[in-house]
Symmetry: C2
Subunit: 437 residues, 2 copies
């Protein structure tokens, strides 16, 4: 995947809201989602973001506006779940991106026809954009692993396997929800020292700042995907909040890993930014020189040169009090995906080295993307040192863990001189009171 | 769920092979699978086992043989995936069972019409019978947990949480295969003491004797299923082999649990025995009196009285040498599901107590069902004490872990005086050589 005309920072769209330099969705981005107009009974269908609009791919398909050379892709992108599009090859995705880029450029002959296919983003609601067959969550930030390890296992914070194995586990697909869907604080077994466990609402509810990686075309069951082919099996990325019940987790997680502490809810941003859109933001993948180098099935020259990805990420909180006072969410963390210890390609190569098959639409979470310093930490568990040091907010409130009514908002974007700024939008959800246990 | 006319041990079918007293599939069983005739391009569709035949539910639907009162169920049972049938209620399932039981009885008026809907089991192949959205694996045998714990954690074999929490974790849905599909020995990172890990074929490949529980109707996301309702959300059971790469597992499993050591393959038997068919084999659920009693969300009077299930289970091995010599598989274990420390209802209640939603077709593995003695152990890891004590086979071979060419066969059945013997068939798969790493 290389830079091409679709990445040209000088490109302007006839959708003028895309040209502000501040929009998440300039013509160089062109992410996919599944949407419908709010408050009516329309079917969900695929769309592409451009400025403050959604290009309705079902309308584009129906009006036969784009070249017949990309007809299969247009039909796939118009569906209510994008698995068919994801199951195509990079060549297919790239051809569709080029066709969309050309048709949305200022002066394009398609302007008049495509105008009728735009729906304001303000008027739409989104769905989970694919049937997610399997959801895997990794643990790719060595900073997060070390910070958390200190709390759960003071004598053994970073395990011996961490720098060799891209640690991951399977998560729950059924409880993944799109941004804006609020969720109840979970009940669970919680154990205080020296007394029996009890069932009660989680008292240490946390977020985890992650990115989600959608698998593209499948590998045959039994066949590994090598590093040089790994990125061909990635469709694109979103923002992901791996909500976590820390008190439930501490009691349940040995020996088989987190379960009910995670599977009550996972929130994702609606827009999927394709790997091709992210080409300008690829960056070198390096490790401290005294760390072990990855085994050969996790190494490639290309991965060292540009295996990492520089996505700026923020976490903000909007408490109920802030909302009542009309205050926006307050930022509490800013970091970048580039600090991850394992790259996307390494996750794909590792996941399949035993023959496990990835299917189009499968979702891989990166794990909490904490950076090297505490103001880059991606979870309250780290920021508050396990609840010992409350986080102070500017309106006088403080938090150790989340309270009912707290909304958490993640944003993500890429920017650098000479390239167009592109964004991921946001993933937002609010904690609702627990169901009576 | 109670005993009714369908359980009457005296019932005979006009399909005479069902009446031998030795068939897994007498008229009192009536399990579901998805099948087609071998070696042709027929579509898969649902079927019901009766004796040595499959009743083709698509043919039954097309010929409109059963009462229109069960038409919805017949249509659902005819599909190529049984999720729609599973998403119905126990009342629906029970009505279909009654209609099938009456129509298959000796003397039934439907005999002539239904005869044309039979396909010999010898002529068919099976598919995974549902779209399995999420697969969860539990750890319900305290004997297994203790045996394995001694090997992985000699100082702390049974963790403090075991007797309080039905420990479970999410597994891989995409790599579940039906009986008869062979699989490659997985490659993985393996670490010997005092040297760096290397990628190589698993050298400690094992099986795990489990049952699989198919979820029926869904719970709303955010709402727990209580103990008294839990079994209404279970469609039926199968046999399940949770293939395990012990050397990969030992190196990767901390702190997030098993991942690549399990997700390369899981094998299931094709036939799903419904919970209603199993009513005669329900049995009391008891715990040692000095063990903690389950928390209230995991307790009910009904669960204590008949929450457990007495399914006889066997493991047999057929090595390549045995096959060459025309020998049948040699039994190495016999045990019963009744030894489990947590019941099916407890698994459902626990899984959903945090609001996690179960969907029709979701699969819950029980975990390895080792009984109290070593000849009842459900994995080689236990039988061979972690590979230290080889298992001797009657033909002079021995095994610590599985070799290429070994086939493992599980069978399961229920029998007791006064009730019809019913069986699960088998789950069988053979280890193929590893893909070149």
């Amino acid at each position: 995947m290389t830079l091409n005309e679709t990445h040209d920072a000088g490109l302007q769209s006839w959708v003028v809201s895309a040209n502000t330099g501040k929009s998440d969705f300039p013509i160089q981005n062109l992410p996919f989602a599944v949407f419908r107009r709010k408050s009516n009974s329309e079917d969900f269908r695929g769309g592409v973001a451009i400025g403050d609009q959604v290009l309705d791919m079902a309308a584009v398909r129906n009006a036969k506006i784009l070249s017949s050379e990309v007809q299969l892709q247009v039909e796939a992108a118009a569906q209510s779940q994008l698995n068919t599009l994801m199951g195509m090859t990079h060549t297919h995705w790239s051809a569709l991106r080029l066709a969309l880029s050309r048709a949305l450029r200022a002066g394009a002959a398609e302007e008049a026809a495509l105008k009728g296919c735009l729906v304001p983003q303000a008027d739409v609601e989104y769905a989970v954009p694919a049937q997610i067959g399997d959801y895997t969550d990794f643990y790719t930030s060595v900073h997060h692993a070390t910070n958390v390890g200190k709390l759960f296992r003071p004598t053994n914070p970073l395990m011996e396997n961490y720098k060799w194995v891209p640690i991951g586990y399977h998560g729950r697909a059924s409880s993944i929800r799109v941004s804006g869907v609020d969720f109840k604080r979970p009940n669970g077994q919680i154990k205080a020292p020296d007394v029996n466990p009890v069932l009660k609402p989680c008292n240490r509810l946390d977020y985890e700042l992650e990115m989600g990686i959608y698998a593209g075309s499948a590998n045959a069951w039994g066949n590994a995907i090598g590093m040089d082919d790994a990125e061909n099996h990635i469709f694109g990325l979103c923002l992901l909040n791996d909500w976590s019940a820390r008190d439930v987790q501490a009691w349940e997680y040995q020996p088989l890993g987190p379960f009910l502490s995670k599977n009550f809810a996972t929130s994702i941003s609606p827009w999927i930014v394709t790997l091709e859109a992210l080409v300008p933001y690829r960056t070198a993948f390096t490790r401290p020189t005294d760390d072990p180098q990855p085994l050969s099935y996790l190494s490639s020259e290309a991965n060292s040169q540009h295996g990492a990805l520089d996505v700026q990420l923020t976490v903000a909180i909007q408490t109920e009090k802030m909302r009542a006072e009309g205050k926006q969410a307050e930022q509490i963390t800013q970091t970048s995906y580039r600090h991850a210890y394992w790259t996307m390609a390494q996750l794909v190569a590792h996941h399949t080295v035993n023959g496990c098959d990835l299917q189009p639409g499968d979702l891989l979470g990166t794990g909490t993307l904490s950076g090297p310093t505490i103001d880059q930490a991606g979870a309250l568990l780290e920021i508050t040192e396990g609840g010992k040091t409350p986080l102070s907010l500017s309106n006088g409130e403080s938090r150790t863990f989340l309270l009912d009514g707290d909304a958490i908002v993640f944003t993500g974007w890429c920017e650098k001189p000479g390239a167009a700024r592109i964004g991921f939008g946001e993933v937002r959800a609010t904690v609702l009171p627990a169901h009576k246990a």
